[in-house]
């Protein structure tokens, strides 16, 4: 019943704070790509894979007081509230909710820039569509020529942490 809300509260409880909506989008996409069972559907948009459902879920959690949204250096910053943490713990205790998060991947992503994650996420999206690694690389460069210098590092990150 609260699967989407619970999964996001679990993520935010683990990482405490995320700077930027784009970064949240790409982090959740890469967690899904790595096999985490999340209910958010992604489509390819201007900044790479984007889930309108994820943004809606975040907006709802903010409205309900489970997440806070503030602005810092023009980017939106999200973090879990006490109320959010309490709801998450209630769902775990009473409803048997649980989520096994790849914390190594999650913490690695927190350290990266949103642009870098945009490239990793775009590459992952293409691999997920059935592109082989060679075609995915050239397609990612075609889609993001301004980020071409990040591609090798992005592929290495994908191979080590996501795949």
């Amino acid at each position: 019943m609260f699967e989407g809300a619970y999964s996001l509260l679990s993520l935010f409880d683990e990482i405490k704070k995320v700077h930027g909506r784009k970064k949240v989008q790409k982090m959740v996409h890469l967690l899904e790509s790595a096999g985490l069972d999340l209910p958010f559907k992604y489509e390819y948009h201007f900044y790479g894979p984007y889930s309108a459902e994820l943004q809606e879920e975040i907006n709802t959690l903010v409205q309900q007081g489970f997440l806070t949204e503030s602005k810092n250096d023009e980017a939106y910053v999200y973090s879990i509230t006490k109320k959010g943490k309490a709801f998450k713990e209630t769902l775990e205790a009473d409803g048997g909710y649980s989520l096994k998060i790849n914390t190594d991947l999650l913490n690695s992503m927190v350290k990266e820039s949103s642009q870098f994650l945009e490239m990793v996420s775009t590459y992952a999206f293409l691999i997920d569509l059935g592109y082989d690694t060679h075609k995915a690389k050239s397609k990612a460069i075609e889609l993001k020529p301004h980020l071409e210098k990040l591609i090798d590092e992005a592929i290495a990150f994908y191979d080590q942490k996501v795949n």
Binding site: M1, F2, G4, A5, G20, R21, K22, D37, P39, K41, E43, Y44, H45, F46, Y47, Y50, A52, E53, Q55, E56, E57, N59, T60, Q63, Q64, K71, E74, A75, Y76, A86, F87, T90, L91, D94, G95, S114, F125, L126, D128, L129, G130, K139, E142, L143
Partner: protein
Amino acid sequence: MKTIRDPVHNIIHFDKESDALLLELIDTQEFQRLRHIKQLGLSSFTYPGAEHTRFAHSIGVTHLTKRFINKICSLKDEQYKQYSQELADNRMLALTAALLHDIGHGPFSHALEKTTGVRHEKWTIEIIRGDTEINSVLKKYNVDPDEVADVIQRTHRSKALVKLLSSQLDTDRIDYLLRDSKMTGAGYGSFDLEWMINVLRIGEYNGQIEVGLDLEKGISIAEDFVMARYYMYMNVYFHKTTRSAELLVDKIFNRAYEIFQEKQEIEFPEDLIRILSEKGNLKETLHNYINLTDNTIWYFISIWSRHQDSILSDLCTRLLRRKFFKSVSIPDKSPMEFWQEVFEYSNKKGIPIKYYFLMDEAKSSSYKDPYIFHTPKTDEKEGEREASEQIILFDNNGNGTELSVISDIINGIRNKKISIDRYFMPEDYKNEIFGG
């Protein structure tokens, strides 16, 4: 000339020579299968006329895409030249993508996706790229299947092509709104298509190519279009009866699969067993997927309504006899309070929560409309914004303006907080917990 009569577009022509590829694609096994996949799933429980299929919709989108391309190519001003050329060069690719954009939809798509863990978009790509009649026809006509897949997945280099089929003003959405409105009988989903095409424009806005409308002549039709979407969403796509039926089907799949996994006795579609046992190997199970239609699933729902498992038989019987769960709208109650009440009640009565207390949110519906339901944030910096959620009006010099900036009506709709989340449960539980 091949002529098709259509309830939305009236007469649809396919030229036997220039459209030979499209006609051959229509005749493939995979495309003919769409005759057995309903466009609106379970909406006919609410609107009995809504029996139309993805087959008719896909042909409608192709026809509309042809008209859109013809219109853009007829625009003579210098600013349109590059787009006209781009669309003219890729005309057959655009029409092919339009025809095949829904080819991977399965029966009860949403519930099936949850069970198999494979989204229909991935089947679409596999049907286009894999060992299928569609793939053979594309190759016969020297159309690159990868390019068709790229247009559908929005990753094609020609953004004009992508936006034509997938944007806030795309041919897919326009056809399904008009078709769903016509077939449900819900007239408020209709709008003036002829005028919309007449004032169709294309241009660049914030560094992106956008299909838009004429600034002077297009505001009224743009407003009509957004209002039609709003009404259709509120009254058809998110109708409480339809959503109740959809949630019930989710739970039926859930329960049947649980019984199957526990190796209890249950009849299960052979093709679905193969898909589940191959765990996401799309290549190996493609033909099993193609075999699944609405008819297959309805047959099994009928069988399961007599199953010894009381939850499964109850859920199936409720669906077959239209005895759906009732909705509770409790905007003042927080999810936490609701959860605690339901938890206490179900514990006391021994009712399995996950099958009998269902939460429904706009975002969990298969129809989504972020343009209407996302409050726009005007103060965010470029990198924070997903620029595709806009409807652009272009002036004579090609300068674009977002619709909600110049339309008070649309601005009002976009900034209105629309809360339509609700909970569903059997009527007797509802009466006992909430007092009727």
